[in-house]
Symmetry: C2
Subunit: 196 residues, 2 copies
């Protein structure tokens, strides 16, 4: 196996990149400006050292706590619970939410062996107990796993009757992935969130 | 700009990767096995040192001359002229050609400032003069630039009346890119090649 084959094989492990796309990328890298390859390689090699989960919310960050958790100007009484770090990025890009976040690290999925204990519910409930939140927005994906996760969280929050529990309004295409929704859909589902 | 933003920006410079795909790739790299990132980074950083154009045919190779040019079992009397190195890969994958190759390095495109002098016609004509070829197959893309390049090469080969000049048969979708044709189409256009 040549260096080129190895590069193509490894590129095709990336999500959404098949063998043909991987080949196209490899030939692009062969022809590109050497400094671009050097920079990209350095970034890929060091990204996991530079970016770590925030010890408070679980979002990826270069500083701990993350800029969102440590921003005093954000609404401290509302917390939005998402599955993955990229969901924070998507919600932030919508510009429709100004509170805090909590990243669960996935959704409950018995078939994949992911139960509540694999997700950061413990940390979330500790934040809720120690904080003074008036509302928890559940922003899990509108999928079976996301629905299960939302129900589980609503159950946990029964012990906190003073906290309103809401979920992103429908408007999100069912069965889809939060990450791929457009900004307008995201904004609308935040504005139209309903008691859950 | 954070390390994550920089990585996303650089990933989105890759062909076919928009900002959303680049974000997805970056988050995949954040979560992936560290050894995968290390290997991929190393491969990207060193690919241009490991893989160079073959001094004979211009195809990318780790050894010079390339395995195709130095294979005595290949048909030495037929040469297939292509635009880009990845076209060699595509034709090889079809399994329908067993001769030699010549990579021009592109196609004639006056609008992009690419004339015959930017392509390796000189090297090709030297090979033809010094070799004993009975046929030149022109396998440039079925595009305006590829057609122009084919006509130019046919003109150059007028001085070699003993050499048959052919071109890949139609069957390739016109306006398309050789790289994306399927194997059957490639095989058929090789078998049905016509005097040009």
């Amino acid at each position: 196996m040549t260096s080129l084959d190895t590069l193509i094989k490894d590129l095709s492990r990336l999500p959404g990149i098949g063998p043909k796309s991987a080949t196209r990328l490899a030939y692009y890298l062969l022809k590109s400006d050497p400094s671009y390859n050097r920079n990209l390689a350095g970034e890929i090699a060091t990204i996991q050292e530079r970016i770590k989960p925030c010890s408070v919310c679980g979002n990826y960050t270069e500083t701990d706590p993350c800029p969102i958790c440590s921003d005093p100007n954000r609404e401290q009484s509302i917390i939005c619970v998402v599955e993955e770090p990229q969901d924070v990025l998507t919600l932030q890009a919508s510009g429709a939410f100004d509170g805090l976040y909590h990243v669960l690290g996935g959704a409950i999925s018995p078939l994949d062996g992911i139960g509540p204990e694999q997700l950061s519910f413990g940390k979330l409930m500790k934040r809720i107990k120690e904080g003074s939140f008036s509302e928890v927005i559940i922003a899990t994906n509108p999928t079976e796993e996301g629905d299960t996760t939302a129900l589980y969280l609503r159950h946990l929050l029964k012990d906190h009757p003073a906290i309103a529990v809401t979920r992103l309004a429908s408007g999100l295409p069912i069965g889809g992935d939060l990450e791929y929704a457009d900004r307008v859909t995201i904004s609308r589902s935040l504005r139209g969130r309903v008691t859950f």
